[in-house]
Symmetry: C2
Subunit: 450 residues, 2 copies
């Protein structure tokens, strides 16, 4: 897409949502009396600067030219129907939208005041909703810098990576029901943790997690699904990736350390996982394709079924910022990383995921795993704050509240990510959550040791 493409709707050069992006989301008009949207009015929109463009209205006006059933796809309370249509429909929709929203060209809507009145809304006049019905949520662990930092803490630098890590994209199943939209409050979980992590024989205590952490991730949505037993090659897999969001996989490190042997994380990561509301299409990221932090050839090469001839990632800056309760805006940036720090590609992740026959459904969510930059650097490059999954010390950078590496009640954590183009940015928008104090479980709490 030529960078000089420009909409008749004015977009700030630092906005994440120029016409080069056009990310999809689900919105509903706010009612006059409240800030809640009318859920029965949910439909698909794209973000453009500070506006939201109603695709149900544009579909009914015929701008998609019958390339697919646009009314059914866009007058829908989730993106699942559109996701299921596959890349030809996604390309047709994007081309039609860019032509319609462009300042120039024969298909520009610039002069169609009545249609624009019907389809363009201020972002502040709508409520946003989860973009998809998420059938299953898988979380990978695909950042080598992060895996190395974690492994070094547990096993020392010589054995940092487990033997399987460089051979397959390690992953686990997350909890689909606990995925929430950016902005939802994040209640600090109660849970079991070891009384003394160094001596598990002392048994557990129950109470509010004392090691609440964030995880900076990018997640993608599966577009077209697969049948049980259907296997995707790497090239096929690429066509099943619909688009990306930011993901904060909030984690209770003390709960995680105690519970995860031998079946993996469970309650430590299923109390809340926040995603940003706008799904950035892969076509919008494509101009920012770049070698990974490990280079443009995967080293070591994986087995043949995972060989990706188009190995690489995207040059997309990722940031974590924290604003403690009562602190002045803006939030303080505590970490900077990049999507290029992913050792496994999305095509590899999906080819692996289906290699044994596991079926995918439109709307499945696939997290990257925490993305940290440059191995061994301190907090300013870590995608999580500390403890079992973290590079350490993220929360410290805020400064005002002492020396704890983990999140405090009232902290607001903001994830941001964008690709810098020539005079514009293709970004995700913010993924935000504020930590609320744990529920009081009264007599059940036994954490007097903390």
């Amino acid at each position: 897409m030529p960078p000089q493409l420009r909409s008749f709707i004015e977009v700030d050069p630092e906005s994440p949502f120029p016409i080069q992006n056009l990310p999809y989301g689900i919105f509903s008009p706010k009612s006059q009396s409240s800030d809640e949207g009318d859920n029965s009015q949910c439909r698909v929109g794209v973000a453009l600067g500070t506006k939201v463009v109603d695709l149900a209205v544009l579909a009914e006006a015929g701008i998609f030219d019958g390339a697919f059933d646009a009314v059914a796809a866009f007058r829908s309370p989730t993106l699942n129907a559109f996701m299921s249509l596959g890349p030809a429909a996604w390309r047709a929709a994007r081309a039609a939208l860019q032509a319609a929203l462009s300042a120039d060209g024969p298909r520009s809507l610039a002069g169609n005041a009545s249609l624009l009145r019907a389809c363009v809304r201020e972002r502040s006049d709508v409520a946003l909703h989860l973009p998809a019905d998420i059938g299953d949520y898988t979380d990978f662990f695909s950042c080598r810098e992060h895996a190395t930092a974690c492994g070094t803490m547990f096993r020392g630098a010589a054995n940092a990576l487990n033997p399987n890590w460089l051979c397959l994209p390690v992953a686990y199943h997350g909890r689909a029901s606990s995925v929430v939209l950016s902005g939802a409050a994040v209640r600090r979980p109660n849970g079991q943790r070891a009384r003394d992590p160094k001596d598990p024989s002392q048994g557990p205590v129950f109470g509010p997690s004392t090691k609440l952490d964030y995880e900076l991730e990018v997640a993608f949505f599966v577009g077209t699904g697969t049948e049980m037993g259907e296997v995707l090659s790497i090239e096929q897999a690429r066509d099943h990736v619909f688009g990306c969001v930011l993901l904060n996989d909030w984690s209770a490190r003390d709960v995680q350390t105690w519970e995860y042997v031998p079946l993996g994380p469970f309650l430590s990561k299923s109390f809340c996982s926040s995603i940003s509301p706008w799904v950035v299409p892969m076509a919008a990221l494509e101009p920012f394709a770049a070698p990974t932090s490990g280079g443009s050839v995967q080293d070591p090469p994986p087995l043949a079924y995972l060989h990706d001839a188009r190995y690489g990632s995207y040059d997309c800056v990722l940031e974590v910022a924290i604003q403690p309760a009562g602190a002045p805006a803006p939030p303080v940036t505590v970490s900077r990383s990049n999507m290029a720090c992913l050792h496994w590609t999305m095509a590899q992740q999906l080819a692996h995921h289906t290699s044994g026959g596991c079926p995918l459904r439109p709307g499945d969510l696939m997290g990257s795993g925490t993305i940290s930059a440059a191995t061994g650097l301190p907090a300013p490059a870590a995608g999580s704050g500390g403890g079992a999954g973290g590079g350490g010390g993220g929360r410290d950078a805020v400064g005002e509240r002492g020396t704890r590496a983990f999140l405090l009640d009232g902290d607001t954590v903001v994830l941001r990510g964008y690709c810098q183009g020539d005079g514009y940015r293709v970004g995700f928008g913010d993924c935000v959550g504020t930590v609320l104090p744990a529920l009081d479980r009264g007599e059940f709490e036994s954490d007097g040791v903390q």
Copy 2:
């Protein structure tokens, strides 16, 4: 329910489905031309002997007396709507059904030939479907005998149980998209495994799993859901359990061993998980409540939030039978176990699951983990065949096909379970699957070592 309760529909004493059971399922009439059901005609039924009783028809006939919106609940392609109504509606439905299907009593339909013609079908005339839209599937690891057998293999008898095992019901998130109905074929998965499991530095190979195993489990469906952040006490949790099915959590042990460090099982258990079609209500199991194999008091006692004042399980015989390809029926029983061998109750599992705020949805599936009997016994008491999760040797008992502990292509595995009453059985019916050979991945296979 008095055991002498009896239906006007004749039920064999060894049938799993007497009037004391009345398990719920989803069925559709088979069309005249094929064995497939008409999916657009899916609705709720109960099993009674060899019949299926159509609850949509009974709802329209008014037998549920307006206790809940029975037409909406039962003219539905899944049980989710009925599950969401909660225990008062479940009790009302069951009481109305037992009264209507009873041989005697004022509400018996015995004399209502025209209604019976409309609502009673032969099991062979209908197709069965997944009973619920499963939002999330969690698999626990709650059988102490099984956990001890697994742990002994890995760490020796002295350290068999990990430090957390007796303190919380260990679990992981499974893959909801790969849950299938009994009868579906089970394709042997391809996958990565260590070339030499004793020397991971030799790296992986890719090809058909050589250690395909079954797992004998009982799973329950969540009825009413919970909001994010809502915490259930043990007593509240009990009311969220709708009913139970059998679950065969097919597992590729070689894939599991290689992939599961450190985030738990992934593709080794997400290629297929089979459940029996009829959901046995908790009220039907209640007469068979019994102490666990560890006694009627939990030893050691867990933390207060997990203290279950009604600690116990059910006296429900569980069996695994295998019929190799070409072998004569019936399948050979290779293992016998019992639901009493569960150290953690369903109420404890749900109270723990929600303790950090994780939301539940109607239709969520919760597996027990493999249920093996008596610690240290050989295969005849093991709920899985061998390897990483098994007690060992299950497949050997079949005899005809040599000495491998794991499943061969063509093997049909049958899980059965029932509570023996006085002259009747409350059972699950069979959970069946036949192993198909792996897909040929041609050039991608690298398992020449086997």
